[in-house]
Amino acid sequence: MAFQLFRVVVRDLAKPKIGCARVSSSFSTLQPNASDEADVPSLPPFNYEPRPYNGPRADEIFEKRKKFLGPSLFHFYQKPINIVEGKMQYLFDEDGRRYLDAFAGIVTVSCGHCHPVVLKAITEQSQLLQHATTIYLHHAIADFAEALASKMPGNLKVVYVVNSGTEANELAMLMARLYSGSLGMIALRNAYHGGSSNTIGLTALNTWKYPIPQGEIHHVVNPDPYRGIFGADAKCYAKDVQDHIDYGTSGKIAGYISETIQGVGGTIELAPGYLKMVYDIVRKAGGVCIADEVQTGFGRTGSHYWGFETQGVIPDIVTMAKGIGNGLPLGAVVTTPEIASVLAQKILFNTYGGNPVCSAGGLAVLKVIDEEKRQSHSADVGSHLLARLRDLQQQHDIIGDIRGRGLMVGVELVTDRTEKTPAKAETAVLFEKLRELGILVGKGGLHGNVFRIKPPMCFNKDDADFLVDALDYSMSKL
């Protein structure tokens, strides 16, 4: 154990880390069964003690949830974790135990839990004015909209501020239908776009779709390089889109929407070149191109600020949420003035949308991402993480695929590399093992066999090493 700590401390001194002080490790780096497992990986040190927690314990909370929050509310882990505090890329449970948050509350905590700059903006604005609506003026929404628009290419500069990704995608669909005068929408199989009636239609994973009317939506073959029927051949997938338009619609459609890297669907990247081809096809059919950046936006992919930029395209509408507010209930739709003008036909109002507190939080997030160079950091740490995972893939047959960009990474587990049989049970076991070792990752894919690694963007190389070491350790024990 002493050697373990020593090794970690030496590595710390050798490589400067962003966001973590390098003082003696807190108790939470001590592993419970360390004495009989000399090579159990340990959390990088972190100079922060959580507050003592005197609130209700996990069992009590779980009972309350069952009683008052409905049977459809699900949770991670056999024994769900009671998370009471967060700081940067770490979370703390009711016993003060620290965990590496490799999922960021589902790709949401972009800057880091309780990031001081974001916290300050929220706290200060909450004491001035929480809410008055846009029927009065306030500088926060305007400043935020301007700053957001400045990160967009082309003529994408009209911003609608809403409260969630679902609301953003609903609004994007409305715009597409009004602008084009057509109804048909095209979405990818395996996509996730929201939980309201229209967005359930776009969402294309049976576990998330209720049996309700969902309007004219065409779900095209997913350009999935790993499992897709055409491998990485973008042209064939694009032809499927053309087919749907030619045979399934009047020839004209309202629009096309996709995530640049599917999130819920298991971190699936689009076959290279696909998006550019499809955008052409869609525009020729009178449709608008919607980029769902709810998970891929804000520098997460590392090489670019927005996911769609990695595909060399400029969409007509961009939707965002999750990372936009570091956890604040905030979403946005950005489009061109031309498309925005269709909404002026009637009144569209959002009571909470653009409230001063969330707008101030959103603006602070944009500043943090720029000032702390989160995008290049994601590129740097992300490539390190991907490289180490690819090495791991050489050692463990169970790893079928490693994919993603920056800090949006997926690890797909299979029991047979040729058949690509989803290793559901093993994924579940490893998921729990990682938690025991102090790492919280996400899970996704239709078969639940993909680890989703999308941490707060202050995640560093030591965290990445710890994660990979833990995965290595757990897999070797399977």
Binding site: F68, F76, T133, A142, V158, T166, N326, T351
Partner: protein, 481 residues
Amino acid sequence: MQGFIGRRLISGTRQLSNLRPSSQRCCFSQVAQREEANNGVHIPKLPPFDYSPPPYTGPSTEEILAQRKEYLSPSMFYFYNKPLNIVDGKMQYLFDENGRRYLDGFGGIATVSCGHCHPDVVEAIVNQTKKIQHSTILYLNHAIGDFAQALASKLPANLKVVFFTNSGTEANELAMLIARLYTGCHDIISLRNAYHGNASGTMGATAQASWKFNVIQSGVHHAMNPDPYRGVFGSDGEKYAKDVQDLIDFGTSGHVAGFISEAIQGVGGIVELAPGFLPAVYNSVKKAGGLFIADEVQSGFARTGSNFWGFEGHGVVPDIVTMAKGIGNGTPLGAVVTTPEVAEVLTRRNYFNTFGGNPVCTAAGLAVLKVIEKEGLQENAFVVGSYLKERLNALKDKYELIGDVRGKGLMLGVELVTDRQLKTPAKAETIHVMDKMKDLGVLIGKGGSYGNVFRITPPLCFTKEDADFLVDAMDYTMSKV
């Protein structure tokens, strides 16, 4: 001048227990010129308030307007000929960029229930934000369960399963989804003049042309509005209820997913439902196998004074209740509450809301419930609301322009007409009076499909002095019309 201020303070002292905080110091906005109006109506003065906002050094009105025009939605509108730049809020008052104080008679659209920046709510928000803002319900956190439990305890019968969303639109969308899944039917009945949201399902339930875009909105039937003032059957609730039965008998298979209505229509102009309507409709809907959805987004959380929930005033128990706005005093939060039996339908598939139920918003929600209880805000809404309504009715006797005064508690409406018999909407006068009242320091809202109804839905800490000031300002303005 001094005499007048003195008089204000004396009346303030008598009512000290109603005021928050102490009214010893007057803020500068009280020091104004005193004019004699033509018919002896003096310019009313804001009640005193012991708070000065920090000086504002941010962008000016012009700058913000230019930014809005360039970067924000072209359909974004604002109130008043000269839009107000509101930079600070405290309890029932708002402050503009010059530090001028206004009485907030609209509450950010019935949203600020406890009062702007109410210390208990701000403390809950700030404390929780420092611990953890967000992790999702994939992990446990006590805040969501505590709030759900507290919320459920305010509801009757078996209404105790809570779903948290981020807005009223999301809540109503979810309610409609649940009703359709539970019954296996698609048809939903809503009232003409209703407002329920702006997403695909809810836009269908919303029933005023200016809010409905030309897109598919399927499965909603709009029943005759049981409007006592403008409705064809006056206050005969049961006659209107027959229209609902007709729609079911002729427009559907005889089985429906449900019926949704606000207890008092908000956007529609504070229209109370004719007495006897809801219980009769309830029977029809139940016979057709449908669920009864009560949209409490504006009428909930003690606003109506006599009850905590608007539906309680009608003697019905809904199957699903939706809420937002006042639930969080302005923090983005919505909720759907239903029975365990109905909630079960969502287990058939995955339903998830990433931000919904986050620790900060639920902590704020719990703080709001505590404030409402601790500060007796329901009682206050009843007392001050009745007083305000009385004074408004007296004003109606004075001015032909006022066609109707209605509402309950601190959810009140004043409809302006140019002809009391014909009830011709006085649209221009409404805009004019609202603008002038703003100049006097009173902010109210506007609604109704003709845009001729004042909506008065202030923070529930509104006092009798505030009520006096509001009515005096309206009186003064109307005397000049």
